[in-house]
Amino acid sequence: MLATIGKPAGAIALAIALISFVLLALGASPAGVFSALYEGAFGNWIAFTDSLVKATPLVFTGLAISVAFSAALWNIGADGQLVIGAIAAGAVGPFLGGWPRPLAIALILIAGALGGAAWSGICGWLRARRDTNEVISTIMLNFVAAQILSWTVHGPLMEASRAYPQSMPIASSAEMYMFMPPTRLNLGMLLALILAIAMYLFLFRSEPGFQLRAMGKNRRAANFFRIPIASLTVWTMALSGALAGLGGAVQISAINHRLYEKVSPGWGFEAIAVALVARLNPLAIIVAAIFFGALDNGSQAMQRAEGVSPVLVQVIQAMVILILLAFDTSAWGNLRDAFSRTPTATSRTTEAHDV
């Protein structure tokens, strides 16, 4: 247990040390930057709850990555899937006036999930039927999704006054239940928590979840054991996209209330860091998402206090991924096994090897 937590924590500590050098090179004070980051993320009640708000889309996209990567389907397109989910939610939302609120919220979320699932399902189908590399197809669809969003807010979904490139607001009945205003805590976050538990049970306690992970360990062996590789590929990708799309819909329903030209600041990519820190475990994704959400939230304060661009957060994300990868390799694992007598070390390295 300690080793499971120790490794990601060590990676984050090493990343912070390396970032300090970058900051010194930029002529900024590392202590000042990190304390501004902390203040911005956890300094007061509103800042703290806002960190949780920023963590919410990362839980959804983190779960999306976790499901796909567990099946060794390298979905790099969670960003595009989230965007399509948001577009679907933003398109349906304005027409839900007069519906009972629980039904309207359910509909806007279903629209988002279906949008995301359709977008990633294309890549799953292409992988299963045309053997098209899902890494490239998902990356390409990220770019296409961004252009579709730009087109919809300039074109078919643009607000009636046509003043700004933004859509009509969603009906108030489709707005998410909010808790404890003026904070932006909302029911969407509870949904994220429930989904994380559900995905944990699905992956580790259900037959399809087992098949999905078996396919991830060894596609050929899974095929040999009569696991339906082709349909499982399509459904896994669709599920992954549905989770990301749901994240987009929650963002529209709870926070944005309409579509703008930009929805995601790169949540789909940040999710890869989240999922790897959590070692693809859906429950750990909640903790990892809060950490990265807090970083995002604190980065604005960091810019105000120290004049360091919030883009720095991307450098931290990347370094955490790279360091975790370097720690988790079979090469390191073999070295460690040579000195370790505990049998658990072996099983851990086998799993780590897949990521």
Partner: protein, 307 residues
Amino acid sequence: MFEQALEAFLTSTIAMATPILLAALGEFLVEESGIINIGIEGAMLSGAFFALSGVYFTGNIAVGLLCGMAAAIAINAMLGVLVINLAVNQVVAGTALDILAAGITGVFYRKLFGITGKAFIVTPLRPIAIGPLARIPLLGPMLFDQSPLVYFAFLMVPNIAWMIYRTRYGLRLRAAGERPEAADALGLGVYALRWQALIASGVLTGLAGAFLTVAYANTFVENISAGRGFVALAVVILGRRNPWGLAAASILFGAAMALQFGLQAVGTAIPYQLFLALPYALTLIVLAFFGGQARDPSALGVPYTRS
């Protein structure tokens, strides 16, 4: 009037194809040796930023090009340590390097130019007209009045084709990508071959990035590579892992990009986002319907640990 527009379109097509071709040739070398480099987008972006910085601070184009190559080689070297020496997952490592490059170039760019508002502009690498050939109608400007990097990119096509298919070294490189165990058993040194491919690829990818800033835009904006590295990944598959095929596929994408600029300038009723999405959608469609025929190197993307 029409002829002028056509001439501009053709010239722009070759210019737009150049960074894609350079990056695709680099990716091709790496993939032949058995590594898939998703980090190529980040290597290109770093090349673009540091090449321009080199020119900006020294006023010397050659120094700038060297800086661009060094930056891309640095990104590739990080990938090399992770995927060659530590045998980690290549897709995840490459994606992390893309995020890293976007972050580092963004932080440095805003630190140097964001707050002060200084213009990050240099005297560009000028096109070189090859004598009277450049005055041939239609084809002259397209083929004989281009940046030196354009000539370099297209001259690398036969060179790399010869190297890969006609030399002993090329055979060894392909062996590393097809049967690493067998190649190592023959004493070919798989790790060394893959490292060499990554460094050569860094040179080409760095120049691809440098072309964007030093020869084309003459300035830097965040994320200037705009997915061209990813397009290069697709071009390698689309060009059927053959340098001549790569050149043809790069020209196809160059034409799509040139068309998009042309149509945006003319102003049509068609939404401009359609043209911006065109190269990416085209990549997907072409891969889905024509991508299956070329066989990947057997060991492509598979972490290899010498046992």
